[in-house]
Amino acid sequence: MIRELSWVDPLYLIFALRWTVAITLLALAGGASLGLVVAACGSSGNAASRLAARAYVGLVQGIPLLAWLFLFFFGFPIFGIDVPGWLAATVAFSVYSAGFLGEIWRGALLSIPKTQWEASASMGLSYLEQLRYVIIPQAVRIATPPTVGFIVQLIKNTSLASVIGFVELTREGQMTAAATLAPLPVYLMVGALYFALCYPLTTYSRFLERRLHGAR
């Protein structure tokens, strides 16, 4: 049934935006937890765990996100596990985020000079205390701009979840466009909403970057 584009449509789109935000947050929670493990393994002294981390990162970064989505959405039912779209999307985005965040954080950890480890060790700090008080605070500062940058990518990439039927901003836009036959205004609005979400983050990331290179 074809209907006119009306004033409620932007509201529906704005409501759908929260699912974009929700799936991003879920993916970040999962991706950050797994990414920490990847970063820890990737920067550890153990060659086997370094190799495992590198293999994981290579695998994730070498396969398109869309393929991961299909893999979890169509793959699980083969084993008799039926997964709703949001869950498949969460798992796929988490796996994907962990590969990128893990690599960003590994790089940040390894960029802290060895001498910082030595100085804190020679004061009697244990390994975990070194990490907590000396290494991680400095690594966080280095990792924040690229991490925020990645989050911006992730927000935009959640639009892919629309292909497995998860109703987030893009899917809502598709449905509205189909119902009203007014794709141009609808997708302009969709674009504007993504922009409204991403641009402040990009600006923030730039600000962090400048602060990082400006001092301390």
């Binding site: 910082q116 100085a119 804190s120 020679s122």
Partner: protein, 243 residues
């Protein structure tokens, strides 16, 4: 008993022998300067004393702790052995105060406010009370190195190890750091210094060690050591650095 006792210490990096059967005994209150060409093993010697480098064989006994033992309580040891690096190695994300209070609060469990008093005292000893709230990148190299010394002092170490601590400094900043060392020497601190400052070594050290090819090639009381070197190697070395 000696404060530091090294017995037949051997340290290798791969096939390369860095310390070859080194014996050394350091008494409480002694100030020992270690000189030698780069690659002669002098920095490694210091790093073996606080366990930064494990040794392949021999014994390293420091203030009653068997450092060579893989089960050694390095935390306890390092709380009493101060180490100052050539590149200062202040923690850039922390204020001067927190740099100094970090180890006392974490390793010794001291309360923050008590540690803060300690930090102020330590900074006073190096003449930098006013830099309490500064960050490392707001300080000159000489000031950073004095903060690094204060950071070690705040742990009330029984011995201090200094690894070429003036080598990274502009010449005009060397003096302020050496003056701090001289004050500590006067207060009776046991110190081992790897240094290129021959005049300083002559003036302040009780004993000077010349390291060559991973061994303590020659040693003696400062005055005698510089006045009449016994080996050709030392004579050549002194000739090249003093002229």
């Amino acid at each position: 008993m000696a404060l530091v006792e090294l017995r037949s210490v051997v340290k290798r990096f791969g096939d390369h022998v860095v310390l070859n059967n080194v014996d050394l005994s350091v008494q409480k209150g002694e100030i020992i300067a270690i000189i030698g060409r780069s690659g002669s093993g002098k920095s490694t010697l210091l790093r073996c004393i606080n366990g930064l480098e494990p040794v392949q064989s021999g014994e390293v006994l420091v203030d009653g702790v068997a450092v060579h033992d893989p089960k050694a309580d390095l935390r306890k040891l390092r709380a009493r052995v101060g180490f100052v690096f050539q590149s200062f190695n202040l923690f850039p994300h922390l204020t001067v105060e927190r740099n100094i209070t970090l180890a006392p609060t974490i390793v010794k469990g001291l309360e923050r406010d008590k540690a803060a008093v300690l930090a102020r005292e330590a900074l006073k000893r190096v003449g930098l009370e006013e830099k309490l709230h500064a960050y490392a990148d707001q300080l000159s190299g000489g000031q950073q190195q004095r903060v690094a010394i204060a950071r070690s002092l705040a742990m009330s170490p029984t011995i201090m190890l200094f690894d070429e601590i003036t080598s990274a400094l502009d010449p005009e900043l060397v003096g302020e750091v050496l003056r701090v060392l001289e004050n500590m020497a006067r207060e009776g601190m046991t110190m081992l210094l790897v240094t290129h400052e021959m005049n300083f070594a002559r003036r302040v050290a009780n004993r000077v060690l010349f390291m060559n090819q991973g061994t303590i090639w020659e040693q003696g009381p400062a005055a005698e050591f510089f006045q009449s070197p016994k080996t050709d190697e030392l004579r050549n070395f002194l000739g090249s650095v003093l002229n």
